[in-house]
């Protein structure tokens, strides 16, 4: 069977394979030329990143080593006290567990649902455009607004969800979706998946659209069934898009603040917080009210997500070239 990657070099990051026969100039001179000029091509991006992200990141690290008053006034150096305080905080183990559950429970279903949805949206049928617009809406709406909306929908007394479930006799009494510890995480995760699927679907859709028709023709000529084709043709060609979607989802879901914070707003304590909302509460909404501690938590969050992403990339062997 003709393997698609031979036809189209849609592979993991890497320049197309060059053979000496096809190159216009001599190999070494061109590569050297690019080495110098590459900087110019990268410079706008580097300027933006250097100016806007690196500086505050350094400030964050700097703040994590400071001792702060409750007002935010810096009182002096703290050594590593902030870090040890965060690690020793009684809520930290629960927060870390919640974070793991949150990320996995949102990213995995999102990827699976988005794969299916992207496939569906690439089919031809009447009304497809409208469905595509509908799928866009949760992404187009701001997370803050959607979270506040769901807070209303999930409410015990004035939430429409309970009303619906009662009317359909699915439950006998209203359910406290956000307050009952058994359901809180489930409710928050559901909203998380709901708002993440549209973006992921469109990333995968872009990837699907990059696969040329000929590839499927070839598979069909070879007699492959739809599942075989999906597994051996579509999925491998979707790899780059899947990679981008998965990695970015892990990062965005981990760093997601409004959904967890807003839906958890009425609950005292830290029992349903993820590491990002915990960090925020450390700074402003806890008895610690300590921005130094929060900065330390912020740095540790970055380390955590970095480790997670590196592990993931290793697992999927991201540099593997297909040909």
């Amino acid at each position: 069977m003709v393997s698609a990657p031979d036809l189209v070099r849609v592979a993991a990051p890497g320049p197309p394979a060059e053979t000496a026969r096809h190159r216009a100039g001599t190999p070494r001179r061109r590569q050297r030329a690019m080495g110098r000029a590459a900087l110019w091509w990268l410079s706008p991006a580097l300027l933006l990143i250097g100016g806007v992200v690196i500086y505050p990141a350094i400030e964050l690290i700097d703040a994590s080593f400071g001792r702060y008053s409750i007002t935010g006034l810096r009182l002096g150096p703290a050594g590593d006290a902030n870090y040890t305080n965060v690690l020793a905080h009684p809520a930290t183990p629960a927060v870390l567990t919640n974070t793991l559950v949150w990320v996995v429970a949102v990213v995995v279903p999102t990827i699976l649902l988005s794969l299916a949805l992207a496939q569906f949206l690439s089919l031809e049928f009447a009304g497809r455009r409208i469905v595509r617009w509908a799928v866009l809406v949760p992404w187009a709406a701001s997370l803050v607004i959607t979270s506040r909306l769901f807070t209303l929908l999930f409410d015990y007394y004035h939430g429409i969800l309970n009303r619906l479930l009662l009317a359909l006799h699915v439950v006998g009494r209203p359910v406290d979706w956000l307050g009952d510890d058994r359901f809180t995480m489930l409710s928050i995760v559901t909203v998380g998946v709901f708002v993440t699927v549209p973006f992921t679907t469109y990333v995968l859709l872009a990837g699907l659209n990059a696969i040329p028709e000929e590839v499927y023709e070839a598979a069909r000529i070879d007699g492959a069934g739809w599942w075989q084709t999906y597994r051996h043709v579509t999925l491998p060609l979707l790899r780059p898009a899947l990679l981008v979607a998965a990695v970015l989802n892990i990062i965005y879901v981990f760093n997601s603040f409004p959904v967890v914070y807003t839906l958890n707003d009425r609950n005292p304590g830290f029992s349903h917080d993820t590491s990002i909302t915990f960090m925020y509460k450390l700074a402003f909404k806890s008895a610690d009210h300590d921005v130094g501690m929060a900065a330390a938590a912020g740095v540790m969050n970055v380390a955590l997500i970095l480790v997670a992403v590196v592990i993931y990339l290793r697992l999927v062997d991201w540099r593997k070239d297909h040909s």
């Binding site: 500086y55 007002t71 909404k285 008895a287």
Partner: protein
């Protein structure tokens, strides 16, 4: 240029970033200082947003008047209550606090030496005009730093129709009567709740305060913290029993807030009683005409005289080079009767000055509040530790009233926290 030189450029750009970060270690243009220096041409005030229609309107007009009178520009930044803590902290961390800040706490800022006191910026006649209870709560270490801007007082709101239906003749005066009343109303069924109790993180400290004052307890007693005093533990147990034992409250009070939990239940006639204040009254009058409500003093545990709980927010002034004069003029203008009372009236709150009391006395619907205002109980905002304790209460009190909650343990923890300085 050789490749190495190009990459040196990149390294240089990043190093520049590092350098900027390192060298800016101190404060920015707006340094907290002694207040001396060349007079400033503009000052900034941060106001917490009370309402969409009135806050911005009043303060923008105020800014114009201020500029006309003093020639100094007044920049107004309006922030929602949800975000004001974070924004204030960000500004202070960067050494750029506003000149005047509207917040519900001030003592920590005073403790850090960031604020002007009344001798420096408040006209004498204004200080004499402020109600004594507020002067006391705004004073830290014998100096007045927290200047009140408006106040509110809590009272027991009850639904007359539900009372009549349940055969309750008058609002309860003792805690036992309260439980009986709530039970009768809950028995009406159809989702009716005897008492809507908000002990969620929004204002748990307020709800707890109003009950504990009516049991003879207090947050501090003779200058020392008394959070886990036997009376307070008794109060918290009583509050827990309301939902767990007597079952007269709405579902999960420890996770219910006022604005989107307790108040809507009362506004839609589903709750017999709720602790409310001015804005609730205004909302009931304008948007919920179906609710025939009455306002009564809180029941006290043994039937003694009812105690009132009140809240005031503060307009504090930060010391910055050259702004003392402009700040003083700000307060002169704000406390002039046609300014302060206009805003208070527009937002539906209560005055903070003796002269204001007289102005508002002409409104009969406020009588119930104004009578109690001079003797109102406040939380110990004059103690910087309270700033942390309050947050701890908000975050933890709800857990104490859950079915598996332990009021003694929670209060012990809070007491410990307060005693260790927060």
């Amino acid at each position: 240029m050789r490749p190495q030189h190009r990459w040196a450029l990149v390294a240089g750009a990043l190093a520049l970033s590092l350098g900027l970060a390192a060298c800016s270690g101190g404060t920015g243009a707006g340094t907290a200082g002694s207040g001396n220096g060349d007079p400033v041409k503009e000052i900034k005030v941060v106001i917490a947003e009370m309402s969409k229609d009135h806050t911005a309107a009043f303060w923008n007009a105020f800014a114009k008047t201020y500029q006309r009178r003093t020639g100094v520009k007044l920049k107004v930044q309006i922030i929602s209550w949800n975000d004001v803590d974070q924004q204030t902290s960000t500004m202070v961390q960067n050494g750029n606090p506003p000149d005047i800040l509207n917040l519900n706490a001030y003592a920590s800022y005073a403790k850090d030496g960031l604020l002007y006191d009344s001798d420096e910026v408040l006209p004498d006649r204004t200080k004499a005009d402020i109600l004594d209870a507020f002067v006391k709560s705004g004073t830290y270490k014998n100096k007045l730093y927290g200047f009140p801007d408006l106040s509110s007082v809590r009272a027991l709101f009850y639904n007359k129709k539900l009372f009549a239906k349940a055969g309750v003749a008058h609002p309860p005066r003792t805690w036992d009567e309260f439980v009986t009343t709530a039970k009768k109303i809950t028995a009406l069924g159809d989702g009716t709740v005897g008492y809507a109790q908000p002990l969620g993180p929004e204002e748990a400290q307020a709800e707890f305060s109003i009950w504990l004052f009516n049991n003879g307890g207090d947050w501090k007693s003779h200058g020392r913290w008394s959070i886990n005093s036997p009376k307070n533990v008794q109060t918290l147990r009583f509050l827990k029993d309301l939902s767990v034992k007597h079952k007269v409250t709405q579902n999960n009070p420890g996770k219910t807030n006022r604005t989107d939990g307790a108040f809507p239940l009362f506004q839609h006639g589903k709750a017999g009683m709720v602790v409310g204040f001015g804005p609730l009254q205004a909302a009931l009058d304008s948007d919920y005409p179906d609710v025939d409500y009455g306002i009564a003093p809180m029941p006290s545990s043994g039937g003694g005289p009812p105690q009132t709980y009140g809240v005031t927010d503060y307009l504090m002034a930060f010391k910055k080079a050259g702004n003392r004069d402009a700040v003083r003029k700000f307060y002169e203008l704000y406390y002039s009767p046609d300014q302060i009372n206009t805003w208070i009236k527009a937002e539906g709150f209560l005055p903070v000055t003796k002269s204001g009391l007289k102005v508002f006395a002409s409104d009969p619907s406020l009588e119930v509040y104004l009578d109690t205002l001079p003797n109102v109980h406040l939380t110990p905002t004059d103690d910087p530790t309270w700033d942390k304790v309050k947050i701890a209460v908000q975050q933890n009190l709800g857990e104490a009233v859950a079915s598996d909650g332990d009021p003694q343990k929670v209060l012990d923890r809070l007491q410990q926290m307060a005693e260790s300085g927060g």
